[in-house]
Symmetry: C2
Subunit: 465 residues, 2 copies
């Protein structure tokens, strides 16, 4: 395939010049968005969610794209489209304006919702996940429109506010609007480069199945001396049930859990083995005494291509200073499985429920809440769209991207595949140490700017000659 | 042995009349003490602890007993003595003015530190444990002094403020003041009657060994997608370690844990079997679907005479609404073992530590904190002191008390035995459903008043003829 960059050389140069000239404006606009604490998991932030949606709507509209705020049963969607390039392909750009909760607050070095520049990085909740990355596409479109006056291809935007809570409203909207959303390519920037100076194209993601288990015993907390031994302690029952989900080899004991796991292919293992990776530096950066995981797999394989069981939160009984001799009335845990192709989160739930029923001791009542889920994905890197994306990154970053998977989950990729029959280009501008979902989330300002340039190049690369 | 009640008949009648005449005053004084939120586990309540100690000091002094506030490295002790009965035995009266934390606050029907009368019960944190019960002895002494002008025996008071946190300062004080505290009998009212209308004398208590386990992994919370599978999740490690402390039969797997457990004697099992006990009513009162416990033992035996392992609190990671996909940096648990004669809490700690070392997976760092401990006790109910206590209860309650053990722990009983070589009379005025350590703690006003009368009778019964 011939690169189209040469053909659109002059307009693209104008666009890239425009981006250079407006870097301060683009950064200030991002900071304004970052200051809105749009935490989708916490109901008290609902007004902030709406402010963030309105900000995105207005900012996108100012580029010349037709935009609407779409009300849902939950947080609003922002939909935009510019269809002024008949005969050219259509690109669907997905992103999300909601963010993870900022806690634990005491570990932030600067306020979580006050974007702060340190050492070339923007520190803020949402800086990289996903406000900063999503915003690169808005600014790329803005630069095309303001400098060239039009885009080389057709573009649709779909920016949601429930990504971090796995809301069902996006799926409903996509399912009900497949004609409106029809596209030839989709792109999401919500992943990372392989390392600083080593940009990547991501061809696979893990899926997710997230649950909450609540175990209830006595009507209220009881004195552990008076009642201890005569009833099942719900906190003991909880740890017994959770621990029972893995065997002493660390394998998940849910019957059928591994049935649909597609083994790593030889070329993938070879490809990963060639990537620079310093186990000791990785361990030290995390601060753990040693790495540990499933036998028979490298650290990279464990992170990208093997399923997991992680407890995300534990609670119950007395948590304040000092001892308190109670049997708690209730204990609970939030926990999740990262899934790999071709595991189906829908199939995990009944199997998990059956396994928990086996593990639950008598004398307690338990309840399993299903929080969210999403399929894993794995796409073919040899398609023309991927090749175009690769060239766009190479142009903006000055180096050809490596081919990787990532361990995180972006359920919308599966949703776009299911409903719009399109594979998604995962073009991530972040870094692995960006602390997304953690205190001190960051995004390199230079990566923000390179991301805008790469997105601008992508529009050119996808145009048919 | 001859009852001495007849000999002191006339003075005791005067005392009991005085108690009847001053019931409202005594109740109001108790309410004043109950309003002080003397929560020993929480540092912000230190001023309340001191206020409670000062209240007890002043109230006891007003009876005519010589009192001093004894400063310790922690919360102050109240020591009082009246030694005006030469040739008569000396009774040491122990109690505590500190209380358990009141949480969970939202389950209280009236404010936890506002004593509220409902259906003949005083509802308040500390109503029965131990302010209300302890106070009966102050008021019995008051009634003797105000009506007869003296006591029939010598009395020493030792009222502490660290019972609920297992503070070491009481033991240090007792060990350093064995001559000052020398006595012939000790009495504690910090236990329960067997049932309403069925007062009891308690001849055995369980001990306690209370720990906190903290498991640390990464330096900070991490994204479970990016890192999941490559490191040990400290919350997973915690539940694995805790669950591993019991086998699938529910037996504690700490090597040697059961070595020093003295088997129940036949007469004890026969005695317990004769006590009225409605399993279904007990289950329904607690609100559990079924009772459960160690195979081969009745519910009463499990509660009174078998060791336990109970998790008292669990914490770590994300506990707020909604999902959050993190690997927590740390997770922890508070947990405790109820011990039975002749288990030694000191011996449990190193054995537990060794077992946890076996159970801990690689990749995490863990720390075991020792919160508090106390030996179990079991005393001979055929001694003269017990017989006197039995008669005192029979006189005040109108029925002979039954002989029971209790499942709770009163470490001071072992301490009095070790340092003062005296067995303790456990004369409890509470009821099993008094919700001590739980929301809506209560104490029947009638039991408070009967307790004062029984204590007044005990002083008479212990006097030598």
């Amino acid at each position: 395939m011939q690169t189209t960059a040469t053909m659109t050389g002059h307009p693209l140069e104008m666009v890239l010049d425009h981006i250079d000239a407006h870097r301060d404006t683009y950064r200030d606009e991002l900071f304004e968005l970052l200051r809105i604490p749009s935490v989708s998991a916490q109901p008290n932030h609902a007004p902030d969610i709406r402010r963030a949606a309105e900000f995105v709507r207005a900012n996108l509209e100012a580029t010349g794209v037709a935009v609407q705020l779409v009300e849902t049963a939950g947080h609003p969607l922002v939909y935009g489209e510019w269809l002024g390039a008949p005969g050219q392909p259509t690109l669907l750009i997905y992103g999300h304006y909601d963010v993870q909760p900022p806690d634990p607050l005491d570990q932030w070095l600067s306020p979580p919702f006050e974007p702060t520049l340190r050492d070339g990085n923007i520190y803020c909740r949402g800086a990289t996940d996903d406000k900063g990355q999503m915003f690169t596409h808005l600014k790329a479109v803005d630069a095309w429109m303001k400098s060239v006056g039009k885009l080389p291809i057709n573009v649709k935007f779909l920016i949601e506010g429930e990504e971090e809570v796995g809301g069902a409203n996006l799926e409903r909207y996509v399912a009900e609007n497949t004609a409106k959303l029809a596209c030839d390519y989709a792109v999401i920037s919500d992943t990372s480069q392989y390392a600083p100076g080593l940009p990547a194209l991501t061809y696979g993601l893990r899926g997710l199945a997230y649950f909450e288990l609540r175990v209830r015993g006595p009507r209220q907390d009881l004195h552990s001396g008076i009642y201890g031994g005569a009833i099942t302690n719900p906190a003991n029952a909880l740890v017994q049930m959770l621990a029972g989900l893995r065997d002493d080899q660390g394998r998940i004991t849910i019957p059928g859990f591994y049935d649909d796991v597609r083994p790593l292919e030889d070329w993938e293992r070879a490809e990963y083995a060639q990537l620079p990776f310093d186990e000791n530096a990785f361990r030290d950066a995390i601060g753990v005494p040693s790495l540990a995981g499933e036998a028979g797999y490298t650290t990279t394989e464990r992170r990208w291509a093997r399923p997991t069981f992680d407890i995300n939160g534990l609670f119950g009984g007395y948590q304040l200073p000092g001892p308190k001799t109670i049997i708690p009335a209730e204990a609970g845990a939030k926990f999740s499985f990262r899934l790999v192709p071709d595991q189906d989160p829908e199939a995990i739930t009944p199997r998990l429920r059956a396994r928990l029923a086996e593990l639950a001791p008598p004398g307690v009542v338990w309840e399993l809440l299903v929080h969210s889920g999403g399929k894993a994905c794995r796409v073919d890197p040899r398609t023309p769209g991927f090749q175009a994306a690769s060239r766009a990154i190479e142009r903006a970053f000055g180096i050809k991207p490596v081919l990787i998977r990532e361990g995180g989950s972006i359920p919308v990729v599966g949703l776009i595949k299911d409903h719009l029959k399109v594979d998604t280009l995962l073009m991530g501008w972040g870094q692995n140490d960006d602390n997304l979902h953690s205190p001190n989330e960051k995004f390199a300002l230079a990566d923000f700017e390179r991301g805008i340039r790469a997105s601008a190049c992508l529009l050119a690369e996808l145009a048919t000659s």
